[in-house]
């Protein structure tokens, strides 16, 4: 550990934002310059996040790299950035995936490319802001500001039904977040501060906690998304351009899970315990029901979108199970710590895998101009390398051990079984269901006879398409075989979180 006097977090957030603003002023005809700038800024952000990782002390749970400046003095709102073990993982995910997306974008040509990439950079900066902000209003600001770039990305460059999808997406998520605003303000009123960690120490009555809990739940539940508020996601995915889908699935959904860990767990544990008999079924429904819905899809993107919802069911399950440890023995707490870690892991892994899958679908779409499963068949014979990669991601998506997809599910199931074996039995059906829809997709699209001339004439994989996929695949395997690289980073924070929750009451 050596102390850097650079405000690394501000740098992290503002590098992509400035890059985005800069790109607005670049002539949209100058395509190579746009790509160069976009990539430079994203890779720069990535390096900053690596610097962050190197300097991060994993042996403690305290906030690190704290930056605090007063911002809105009338309400005592501060520009307060910091990271802990959870945030840094998500920061890494964001910077990595963003880098790869911009790399992947090289393969696509479109109108107003400067704005497209600019919006991506801005989105990246805002998402990073969410993960760094420790002032609740600052958090909220980043949380909600994220909507705009994505709204535009989907709306301007999206598919034919984009208007419906974007407005639905926007209003849905806005609806969720505004209630959270009220909750945050209430908490800040009680705590007399906007610093998130101050909320952890509040003693709130159960009724209040339940209300707060519901507010946060709606906000993050929509974002993540949970059943039954998931319906915006398939629409948004289907209409989004490929890279938009990637960032939506890979990073944006994680904000919901991150928020749950940051707010739901430590602030309203009692309410969580009280409502758990209602929440855990929701997660289980997400896992089973949504998997069935995924099975019925004809559109590749929709299928993967629904599969995202199902996977996020595991995340919420792992998080909600933590509530059940309140008042239990140390043994149970340790297990729920594993569950929490599993949720984090599941998010990270899903970030990588869904990114890979959406890139794959984007590659198919860019060649066949169709996302319908029925329209393609036998791509494996035309694009073997691509098919191998896509198959790999599909298998990871079905939770194959040795890939990252397994780790999170496994750890969450550990926590589930400790709580109630029925939860685990129901949740573990995902092994079959996820395998069914993932492999069924692979079977229909990649295998079989070549269906049409369009497929026959598909161009082979280009390097700028190949590398993002390969890097993602390597990461997926790496995490799958040695997950403690990442799990150790959040270990202390997670233990501390459990301690906060259980010691509070």
């Amino acid at each position: 550990m050596f102390d850097l006097n650079i405000p690394l977090l501000s740098l992290l957030i503002w590098t992509p934002l400035l890059g985005g603003i800069l790109l607005f002023f670049i002539n949209q005809k100058n395509d190579s310059l746009i790509k160069l700038i976009g990539f430079t800024f994203s890779i720069l952000t990535f390096f900053i996040s690596i610097a962050l990782l190197i300097n991060f002390d994993t042996s403690q749970y305290l906030l690190q790299f704290v930056e605090k400046r007063s911002w809105i003095t009338t309400l005592n709102i501060n520009y307060h950035l910091a990271v802990d073990g959870f945030s840094i993982l998500f920061i890494l995910l964001t910077t990595t995936v963003s880098c790869l997306i911009i790399l992947f974008n090289f393969s696509e040509s479109r109108q107003q490319n400067n704005k497209y990439i600019s919006l991506f950079l801005i989105l990246e900066g805002l998402i990073l802001g969410v993960f760094c902000a420790f002032d609740s209003i600052l958090f909220y600001i980043f949380f909600e500001a994220m909507l705009i770039p994505l709204f535009l990305i989907i709306g301007i460059w999206g598919g034919p039904n984009r208007v419906y999808a974007t407005i639905k997406f926007f209003i849905y998520t806005l609806f969720g977040s505004v209630l959270m605003l009220v909750a945050l303000l209430y908490l800040s009123f009680k705590a007399n501060s906007f610093y998130i960690l101050d909320y952890y120490n509040l003693a709130l009555s159960l009724d209040i906690q339940i209300l707060l809990f519901l507010a946060f739940l709606i906000a993050f539940g929509i974002k993540i998304p949970m059943w039954p508020v998931h319906t915006w996601l398939p629409d948004a995915h289907v209409e989004a351009p490929s890279s938009g889908s990637v960032i939506l699935a890979a990073v944006l959904l994680k904000v919901g899970g991150y928020g749950m860990i940051r707010f739901l767990l430590p602030i309203t544990p009692d309410a969580g315990l009280y409502l758990n008999s209602f929440l855990i079924p929701l997660s289980l429904i997400a896992i089973i029901y949504i998997s069935f819905v995924a099975l019925a899809q004809q559109d590749m993107k929709k299928l993967i979108a629904y599969s995202s919802v199902a996977h996020m069911g595991f995340v919420t399950l792992g998080i909600f199970l933590v509530f059940n440890t309140i008042g239990q023995t140390q043994d149970v707490q340790d297990i729920s710590h594993i569950g929490l870690q599993g949720s984090v892991m599941q998010m990270l892994s899903h970030g990588l895998i869904s990114a890979g899958l959406f890139i794959c679908i984007g590659i198919i779409y860019s060649r066949t101009k169709s996302r319908m499963i029925d329209d393609q068949s036998g791509i494996g014979q035309v694009m073997p390398v691509f098919s191998a990669l896509m198959m790999f991601f599909l298998l990871s998506n079905s939770g194959l051990p040795g890939t990252s997809g397994f780790v999170g599910e496994f750890m969450v199931l550990i926590a589930a079984i400790k709580n109630n074996i029925i939860y685990a039995i129901l949740a573990s059906t995902t092994l079959v269901l996820a395998a069914s829809y993932s492999l069924w997709l692979g079977k229909r699209v990649l295998f079989g006879e070549v269906s049409s001339d369009i497929v026959t004439s598909m161009k082979p994989l280009r390097l700028d398409e190949f590398w993002p996929l390969l890097i993602l695949a390597i990461l997926v395997i790496l995490i799958g075989i040695k997950p403690d690289i990442l799990l150790d980073i959040s270990e202390e924070s997670s233990l501390n979180m459990i301690k906060i929750i259980t010691s509070k009451y």
Binding site: I141, I156, L174
Partner: protein, 482 residues
Amino acid sequence: MINYLYIFPEIIITSALCFIIVLDLFLPSRLKYISYYLIQFSLIFCVYYIYSHFNYLDSNVSELYNTGIFSNIFKIFILLSLVIIFYYTSVFLNYFNIYKTEYFLITVFGLLGMMIMISSENLLLLYLGIELLSLSLYSVIAFNRNSLFSSEAAVKYYILGAISSGFLLFGISLIYGLTGSLSFNEIFIYITSLNISSNIDSVEIIGLLFALIFILISLSFKFGAAPFHMWIPDVYHGSIITTTLLLSTIPKIAVFVIFIKLLAIVFSGLFLFWSDMVIILSILSILIGNIIAISQTNIKRMLAYSTIANIGFILLGLSVGSVIAYKAAMFYTLTYVITTIAVFGLLSQLVYKSKSVENISDLSGLNSSNPFLAFLLMVILLSYIGIPPLLGFHAKLFIIQALVESNNIPLSIFAVLMTVIGSFYYLRVIKVIYFDELKDELLITSKLYFTGTYVIGLMLLGLFPDILGQLSQYSISNLFNA
């Protein structure tokens, strides 16, 4: 006796008016711009004067008139807003060849009315100020004489405005009858001397309640709060766009000042009653504004309903009755005015099929023809929705924060939910601008340098909301200390 130094800003304006009225008669049409610049100059000079005598003026002229820091801040704000409005107006009128100096002159009369309203410490002066403002607005609305819409709007506004004046006067007469005075200060003393909570059914209190209802209704009418909002959509729709710009911005500030002075100071003893009334007004406004706006196709009309909703938010802040809430309401008002100037100013610069922009669909595909303009419009609309980190968000944040601090959680939830519903119609405009196909090229009446700077300033204000926040805090604390 009056120390005329204190009312020097008003004197500057009045004398400039008188001078320009005469001068304009003798100016040839190609030199009419001189009077325009003179007006602008006198306004700016007035700002300068108020600013340089900011503290010096901090005293009561008499029982009638107060020129404290509180009033001065608003006066400067109004004057500056009017300068910007005049800029857009002159561009607009010149483009459509309906330029007349009288338009500006009549507006400046209204300005004078507003300054009187802001400074008034007496119901009589308040009445005169309101009337001066209203009369000038009636004429300004009807200014585009050849338009059927304009004259219809003017008639509607006139009749309803007169009714509201009647209500105001009726209320004032009751106050006068009960307290024997028209001075804010004396009324305040009278009301606080009554022991409200113990004799809640006493006749005096019922009388005051009657007066309060009449005055509140009249002011709500001027503000545009439901159910006294009926004029707003029609008048906004019927007027030329720069008049709409005028109508929707600075009068709201003046009315807000009156609201805050009357409710927070004069009738502060009756808080128990008026907070409920204001809550009813605000709930109705937010509901009606947001919901009816959804089905609008005319952009001015849509913005009119959005105004109603915004007014509802301001009233929501006022209803809390704490200093923080007044601050929040003031912040909201300023934000609303700044944003509204931006949106109408920007729209006034657009020409569709050689007419001013009317329907939302006129804007379709703006992004492909003029991306910068589209961007500016989007920023403004997002600010209206309250998307952080734009100014509109902070405004809503302040209001909701005030509500939460007063433990009024259901109202705050209502407010945020209506924000979500409200976001829909703004989004529809953004959708038209960004996602729809280009229909006919939109022309721009002038370069976007000013508007661009203005909107970017708006964004900066959003990043540094402390500027407006501190201003609100400063002025509200001054109001209560004075």
